[in-house]
Amino acid sequence: MNRKATVALGATTALAIVLSGCSSAIPQGGGSGSATEIEILSNFTSDISRGKVLDELIEEFNDESDGKYKVVSKAQPDWPTLQQQIRSSISAGTTPDLFLYNYNPTDLSREESGELMDWSAYINEDPEWKARFKEDNLAALTTENQLAGIPGDQAPALFYYNKDLFAAAGVDQFPATWDEYLAAAEEIRKTGVAAISLMTADDSWHTMNALSYVATAKGGPDAYAPGADLDSAAIVAAADYTKQLLALSTPDAVGGNYSASTSNFLNGQSASIIDGPWLISSIQSTVPEPCSIGVAAAPGFNDGAIEPGYTVTDALNVWGAAKQSDPDKEKAVVAWMKFFTSNESASRMAVDGEYPMAVDTELSEADRGRASCQMAQVLDISNAAPTTIVQMGREITTGAQAKLPSLLESLALGQTSPADFASELQTANAE
């Protein structure tokens, strides 16, 4: 090799070494070289409140572990994309270290893939930690004595209503029964405002919340439990009320998506919406008088099918983890989850992140003082709820879920009767 070539090679090597030192935007701590690193895959992006709190908690955990563990957050903002990403990763044998997924009792393909870590030994050896979770949730996630994940969140879907718009229609108190609600909705409509924000696109979230509440109010907590016959009087009644509600909603309810439905409520074009606590940050940032938005448990019926004050919730979201060959990595995953599900972390996630977790959360007086007017009500209603029931759209099979928008739109347009709706939903769910 001649001299020029040797010099050029040397210079290139030196440049590569220098550039490799500059390539990472993350500062490399002195002790991080030996830290066991785990990645968390969720939809907690840093631009939303729960993402900000997660980032803070991660930073604290990494500091507290003193170089032993390093947690890194990888966020995918779009929930359906995230779920497909997780599914594909499990299928490809590259399961993420820790990930948030939606539990569906009718689709246990992820839990039964053999790719997930078994948490049972860790939770059983720590009774204090185990006591922080609802027994029902742990039981649901347990298959053949193996615990597939740690309950993450189970957001209550509650009525958020615009007190001023209700008052303008002469309704001073949130209705206690569905018939009173329909009567109030008619009055609200006369003022030129839609009574409720609904939508039928995608997972028909807002509409399915209403349908689930009416179905359980009529047929009790097991009205649409897995294995139940959906071609029932309760579902027919629920479809009938939902059809009436769709008629009292905004003109874009049929075919509208979550974003349109939520915007209608936040802009004052509709007086109420049934949504999760993630709506609170939008209320706080968009509505001129945020505390004019009240939170209420859903109305019921006076026939005693279910105790009033119950809540319908979103699916149980679960923190699953990859089966690890490295014991240190498994220890890191468990250490992080214990830290993340502690009362202190859960309180901060609830108050600052507007994200109530599926763990026993006791707010201190200081935390309660910092909570937004809606979050305090959400926590009160959730704590007082005699029963929680997962929303129907999250309990039926994925095949039936795919048919929901079409079925609801047919119902709203009068192409399908409530009885046919129930019958077709049952057929789709049984396939």
């Binding site: 393909s109 992820r110 003109p251 075919g255 994925t398 879920q401 079409s406 347009l413 192409q415």
Partner: protein, 319 residues
């Protein structure tokens, strides 16, 4: 121009006795080349590999998975023709298939003639024809998703341009929920595609430009009108371009996704759903990968049949 010679570097093997550029007086030696068959094989190998890896193998995988029940995780379970039986008993699939075929018909019998008519007009180079041609072609370089979003707001029930315009001119009774009225939803999702005629127009203009001018001069001497010239000279001579355009149209119609997805999500009640949207839903909402693959196979068969049909018509026209 003077030609400069490159400096001679010590060590270079240059004959200093002969002229710099004197060609060799040696007879060309007969090189033992590879047989023609191997040469052709080597030339085709890269394309063959690409087609195999990125087309043939995926198609075979799709066909194989179409006979399975698979949720995207775990081992697919063989169900034979079960998915196809389920497909053809699913009203949503039948609606999507019917709508897709309607997209093909609209593409062939409305969109393509519109492209031809505009191309015939622009080919006569009226005043401002270049601007006209550019403006018409512009939508082809904008993302279909952006355009779909734009049209969503054109047809939106409360924010839309159409309803606002109708209200403005006192035709409020004609306003409606264009996007989510079952009688208008499909037409509304097709509208942007039908009116964006730029690509077809350019295709026809290119072909028209190759037609010898003498044909038209002869026709003019015979007293043929413009319409007669177009009908008897231009259209027959651009028939290959028409066939190509129809193939493009069929291909696009079978893949039609962005406009129904963004504008109506295939609703209301599947009234604007297409095969692509149906496949998307089966995969990403229902986690029915086997069903999605089966629907893909049906799409493939429909595409092959339609393409063969176009070639058959073209061959007949050639005779």
């Amino acid at each position: 121009m003077t030609q400069t010679q490159a400096p001679v570097v010590p060590g270079d093997r240059v004959s200093l006795s002969g002229a710099w550029s004197t060609p060799s007086t040696h007879k060309p030696t007969k090189r033992a080349g590879l047989p023609l068959g191997i040469n052709i094989f080597l030339y085709l190998l890269p394309a063959f590999l690409l087609v195999t890896v990125f087309l043939a193998v995926p198609v075979l995988v799709v066909i194989a998975l179409s006979g399975t029940d698979w949720a995207g995780i775990g081992i697919p379970q063989w169900v034979g023709a079960g998915n196809f039986v389920r497909l053809f008993s699913d009203p949503a699939f039948l609606k999507s298939l019917g709508n897709t075929l309607l997209w093909v018909l609209v593409g062939v019998f409305i969109h393509t003639p519109l492209c031809i008519i505009v191309a015939l007009i622009v080919a006569r180079k009226p005043r401002g024809w270049k601007i006209f041609r550019t403006v018409l072609f512009l939508p082809n370089i904008i993302s279909a998703t952006s355009l779909a979003l734009l049209w969503y707001f054109v047809f939106h029930v409360s924010l839309g341009l159409i309803n606002a315009s109708l209200t403005l001119v006192g035709l409020e009774s004609f306003t409606r929920n264009w996007l989510f009225d079952p009688s208008t939803a499909l037409g509304v999702t097709m509208t942007p595609w039908v009116v964006y005629i730029g690509f077809g127009m350019v295709l026809f203009l290119t072909q028209i430009s190759t037609i010898p001018q003498e044909y038209y001069e002869a026709a003019q001497l015979d007293g043929a009108s413009n319409l007669r010239q177009d009908w008897s000279i231009t259209i027959p001579l651009i028939r290959r371009a028409i066939a190509l355009q129809v193939l493009f149209v069929v291909g696009y119609a079978l893949r039609s996704f962005e406009y129904p997805f963004v504008m109506t999500s295939g609703g209301p009640a599947d009234s604007s759903s297409t095969l692509s949207l149906y496949i998307y839903r089966q995969m990403l909402t229902a986690n029915e990968y086997g069903m999605a693959m089966a629907a893909g196979v049906v799409t493939l068969i429909v595409g092959i049949v339609l393409t063969a049909g176009v070639f058959w018509v073209l061959r007949k026209a050639e005779r």
